[in-house]
């Protein structure tokens, strides 16, 4: 092929003297540069992770968490209804002089339950 023949006319060159020695001499410098770069990346990564973590904690505490009182106020009142068995209460009382509590229903309309 004509193009191939033409290419054959281009001069071929080779590596200069001392090529290998120059490359081998560059190796220690390049190794040092790579380990330095690796150390830098590690510190940068650790720093970035620490910053992210701190940001997450701060945002969580300062922005998303409400003050306790406000949190309590926001809670709904939970009615706890508990029936009282007077006889059991008296029966389980200590043998010391007993104090009998008589609870009197004040309102006729209210249920016989205790609301906390």
């Amino acid at each position: 092929m004509e193009e191939r023949n033409i290419f054959d006319r281009l001069e071929r060159v080779g590596a200069p003297e001392g090529f290998e020695a120059r490359v081998l001499a560059e190796l220690p410098r390049r190794k040092e540069r790579r380990s330095h770069a690796l150390r830098t990346y590690r510190y940068a990564f650790a720093g970035a992770t620490a910053v992210l973590l701190a940001t997450f904690v701060l945002v969580n505490v300062l922005v998303f968490r409400k003050p306790e009182a406000a949190r309590m106020a926001a809670m709904e009142t939970v009615q706890v209804m508990e029936t009282m068995d007077y006889s059991t209460e008296v029966h389980n009382a200590s043998y010391e002089p007993r104090t009998v509590y008589i609870l009197e229903q004040v309102s006729e309309a209210s249920p016989q339950e205790i609301t906390y």
């Binding site: 004509e2 193009e3 191939r4 033409i6 290419f7 006319r9 281009l10 001069e11 071929r12 060159v13 080779g14 590596a15 200069p16 090529f19 290998e20 120059r22 490359v23 081998l24 560059e26 190796l27 390049r30 790579r34």
Partner: protein, 194 residues
């Protein structure tokens, strides 16, 4: 020690094996990069960088492909990066050249400086997309399968690029032989696509 043994020693950090490996490939790589860039000093620099990368990335080499393909891949990538970095391409008006370089004369005898100069200029003008496969095929003697492995493209693409690259070179050489300037140089550089 064959190449596969050499590279496995290099993977362990053996600098003596690395030096032997360089001895096997240095001339080919320097020549390849010189034909690609047209600049001997740059070719030597890029070759050194190629071998440094071979050393530090030796653990990434898998013996499924020939070692030469892997080394040429690294060299080709460096060469392409270098060409992209060059902002100013040498554009030489043929009118400014001494008469002996003005037109290509295709003589069978000792290398015709006009032809060689034109071919050099034409290669330099060729888009890297075509330059790489053409140089690998026509100067380095790689097969299309090996070139496909080196540039990581399908064989069909390699064939097309070689064919088009040769066509563009032929056109440019014909233009130069008729005394035309490389009017199509920018067109080839910008529109080359396969």
């Amino acid at each position: 020690m064959d190449e596969q043994e050499l590279i496995s020693h290099v993977q362990e950090g053996d600098e003596a094996a690395f030096a032997k490996l360089m001895g096997l490939y240095k001339n080919r790589i320097v020549n390849y990069l010189y034909q690609f860039t047209g600049d001997y000093q740059k070719a030597v620099e890029l070759s050194q960088e190629t071998f440094l990368r071979v050393y530090f990335k030796a653990d990434k080499y898998k013996p499924i492909a020939p070692l030469s393909s892997w080394i040429y891949t690294i060299a080709s990538n460096l060469a392409k990066t270098e060409v992209k970095k060059r902002r100013k391409m040498a554009t030489v008006s043929l009118d400014d050249l001494p008469n002996s370089f003005n037109a290509g004369t295709y003589s069978e005898d000792p290398p015709d400086p006009g032809l060689i100069r034109n071919l050099r200029e034409a290669l330099d003008a060729l888009h890297p997309r075509y330059r790489v496969p053409v140089v690998l095929k026509d100067m380095e003697g790689f097969s299309q399968e090996e070139i496909a492995r080196i540039i990581k493209r399908p064989i069909g693409t390699v064939k097309a690029r070689i064919s088009r690259g040769r066509e563009y070179l032929k056109k440019m050489l014909e233009n130069a032989a008729h005394g035309d300037t490389y009017a199509s140089k920018n067109e080839v550089r910008e529109h080359g696509r396969a």
